[in-house]
């Protein structure tokens, strides 16, 4: 499975699908209802159906659900199926077996990769949300005019291709890169630093940068929505700026923070481009191994088992983290 397939959750893509819906679904539907009215004065079945809110809702979401089913559910089902089979050279042995999962979860090298991937994406999530929150806060609360321009300016770097941005970091961190040649020019170092590139830190820096815009926007939206009189009411009831932030602003912006964290955590755990380009051997992540199983090694069942295990791990970790965050914020009261 292509781990970047998560992009199907991208809100922009979803909006595109809904638009398609409106264009494709509505006129046909009302057309049918209109014909019914002419033929038969009594409210017919069709008319009843199109009058009902929920029927109309289902009608509008059906194409979307169909697309989701074809592009997400079916491949995942296939993946699950594969993960119980065995690769025998060029042939697949379709006798159900748990051997792939035993290998995926039991082998020490895979476990290391799982933990490293979760560790790296957790750190990326923390760092990115940590950087994005103050920026979003600044734009939402301090900028008075031209908020829109600020948001565009903040996201302009992200209009370039993801790959280009990863390469840009390669250029910055590389052996003959911007940092090294700069420091050498200044005479601060005599030979290039080698620890900049090809390690987990390089992966974290690159990913954190790549996902910053995705974090700023949901947090900004949730902050912008907060009614300013709530903050005044909190001040009126005795809270200083810090208390007010902890008791009002943070809990009310939590949906944005959770959204941002998910948008970063889920795809970064499965990212294979960045670790492949800037990670080096010590920065390899689980998705790189999955890719190898589906590619060079040609062991799809093992690749499938690794992918399913990784997906489950991400889901569990995300649910756990969200619950922990909710409880922590609720306790501030």
């Amino acid at each position: 499975m292509n781990p970047r397939g998560v992009a199907a959750h991208n809100p922009l893509l979803q909006r595109g699908a809904i638009l398609l819906n409106v264009v494709g679904g509505r006129p046909g539907g009302s057309g049918v209802a209109a014909i019914d009215v002419r033929r038969e004065p009594k409210p017919g079945l069709w008319q009843g159906l199109f009058r009902s809110e929920s029927a109309r809702g289902y009608a509008l979401t059906t194409p979307m659900l169909a697309v989701l089913f074809l592009t997400l559910a079916a491949p995942i089902a296939l993946l699950v199926l594969y993960s119980f089979w065995t690769q025998m050279g060029l042939y697949l042995d379709q006798t159900p077996t748990l051997a792939n999962y035993e290998r995926a979860l039991g082998a020490a090298n895979y476990r290391t990769l799982f933990l490293r991937s979760l560790g790296i994406s957790s750190l990326v999530t923390l760092i990115t949300v940590g950087i994005a929150y103050p920026i979003a806060y600044f734009v939402a609360f301090r900028v008075r005019r031209g908020k829109f321009l600020w948001l565009i300016a903040l996201t302009v770097p992200f209009w370039t291709s993801y790959l280009l941005r990863v390469f840009a970091w390669k250029v910055i961190l590389g052996y003959n890169g911007v940092i090294n040649s700069g420091l050498m020019q200044l005479g601060l170092i005599s030979k290039p630093l080698e620890f900049l590139l090809y390690n987990p830190t390089a992966v974290i820096v690159t990913l954190a940068h790549a996902y910053a815009a995705f974090a700023i926007l949901p947090i900004y939206v949730s902050l912008e929505k907060i009614d300013r009189s709530l903050l005044e009411a909190a001040a009126d009831l005795g809270d200083g700026p810090f208390r007010r932030f902890m008791r009002i602003t943070l809990p009310l912006s939590l949906p944005g923070v959770i959204g941002a964290a998910l948008v970063i955590f889920v795809p970064t755990t499965g990212d294979y481009v960045t670790p492949a380009l800037v990670g080096g051997p010590s920065g390899t992540m689980i998705a790189n191994i999955i890719q190898v199983q589906f590619g060079r090694v040609n062991n799809w069942p093992l690749g499938a088992a690794l992918a399913i295990a990784s997906m489950t791990a991400v889901a569990l970790a995300a649910i756990f983290a969200i619950q922990a965050l909710r409880i922590a914020v609720a306790r501030v009261r």
Binding site: S229, A235, L237, G238, D239
Partner: protein
């Protein structure tokens, strides 16, 4: 009630860009007083109130509460609490936590906190609503939660910014009575902002009338109605008929005024204002002071044409056009048939008259 200066505002001004929202306002409010700020939309009521609460800093002037200068203090350090126009109920907390929000500062035991919240819920007659969320309450219930949340802090001054504006007429009238009773019982000083003159007059000990950032007049409701100090106040509070004139004779207890349309109007000077012969004045008469008949009266009578009659139950509202006066006279006549002929037709000629002490004489602007 003696006017001591429990809440004292001295020479306060606030400018937003080009608009002077509050223009050199000075005002003293007594302990335990129910004070209303009344004025048309945009006249600076909210801005003045926000400066009392600490949400806005005055450009100049002083705000003092109970003898302490609070001008530079933030809201959380002031002995005031506010009921916001939008109620500002915290959506992520239930009603009990909303009401208890400000108690954190007092570091109460859990049991004491619970007790106070329960008492507060009982006060606003919302027992058993503690676990609900704001969006599960009606507008009137939300308004009471906002009130309870502020009152539980036992503020020295409670600020209310059009707290009843979002309620329907019946609920608003019921809440007016409840609020007034609550204020009497608790003895807390209320500063109440409204643009509804009936509300201000019926609830308040004193009313301050504002217009375009200025505080025009501060007085008891009755005095404000019967002795408005200027044309603006007179026309903002109740309905008023105006015409201009010049003082012809001025004695200690009587004035004779000459106008273009009505020769020699007899009037009595009201208030402490003294007029001299030749002064240009404005004659202001309430609709209920005017009477209408088919024959001229002995004093202050003017002939006009009946323009429109509207029935208001126990009264008729008449509009009478007098040649030379731009606005028609508005007359409130009892419906018992006295005065006006029952079958008076539009356009029939009638006489409008008023007693000498029925008119308010104001200096012409």
């Amino acid at each position: 009630m003696a006017i001591d200066n429990f809440l004292s505002i001295q020479g306060v001004s606030k400018r937003f860009g080009g608009t002077l929202a509050v223009n050199n306002v000075s005002l003293d409010i007594a302990r335990g007083e129910f004070f209303s700020l009344l004025g048309p939309s945009g006249c600076g009521k909210t801005t003045l109130m926000r400066m009392i609460g600490g949400f806005a800093m005055p450009d100049s002037g002083i705000v003092a509460i109970d003898g302490a200068d609070v001008t530079a203090l933030p809201p959380n350090a002031r002995p005031t609490n506010m009921v916001f126009q939008s109620y500002a109920i915290f959506p992520h907390l239930n009603i009990a936590d909303n009401i208890g929000y400000g108690l954190r500062k007092l570091k109460l035991s859990a049991a004491e906190r619970e007790k106070r919240i329960a008492a507060s819920l009982a006060m606003i007659k919302l027992e058993g609503f503690g676990q609900r969320r704001a969006n599960e309450l009606s507008g009137g219930e939300r308004q009471r939660v906002a009130l309870a949340r502020a009152l539980i802090m036992q503020p020295k001054v409670l600020l209310l910014d059009e707290p009843l504006g979002a309620l329907d007429k019946r609920l608003r009238e019921a809440m007016q009575i409840e609020l007034r009773e609550l204020q009497r019982r608790l003895g807390i000083t209320f500063v109440f902002v409204t643009h509804d003159q009936d509300e201000a007059l019926s609830m308040s000990d004193r009313v301050g009338v504002m217009s375009k950032g200025k505080l025009l007049q501060v007085d008891k409701p009755k005095a404000l109605y019967e002795r408005p100090g200027s044309r603006e106040v007179a026309s903002f509070i109740g309905t008023m008929n105006f015409f201009e004139g010049r003082v012809l004779e001025a004695a200690a207890d009587s004035l004779t005024i000459e106008t273009k349309e009505i020769s020699r109007v007899a009037a009595k000077p009201n208030g402490a204002r003294a007029f001299a012969v030749g002064d240009r004045v404005l004659v202001a008469i309430r609709p209920e002071k005017l009477s209408v008949s088919s024959t001229p009266a002995s004093v202050n009578s003017v002939q006009g044409r009946l323009h429109a009659v509207s029935y208001l139950g126990d009264h008729h509202l008449l509009q009478i056009i007098v040649d030379g006066i731009r606005e028609p006279f508005i007359v409130l006549a009892p419906s018992d048939g006295k005065g006006l002929d029952e079958n008076a037709m539009p356009d029939s000629a009638v006489w409008v008259s008023w007693p000498a002490d029925g008119a308010i004489i104001l200096p012409a602007a």
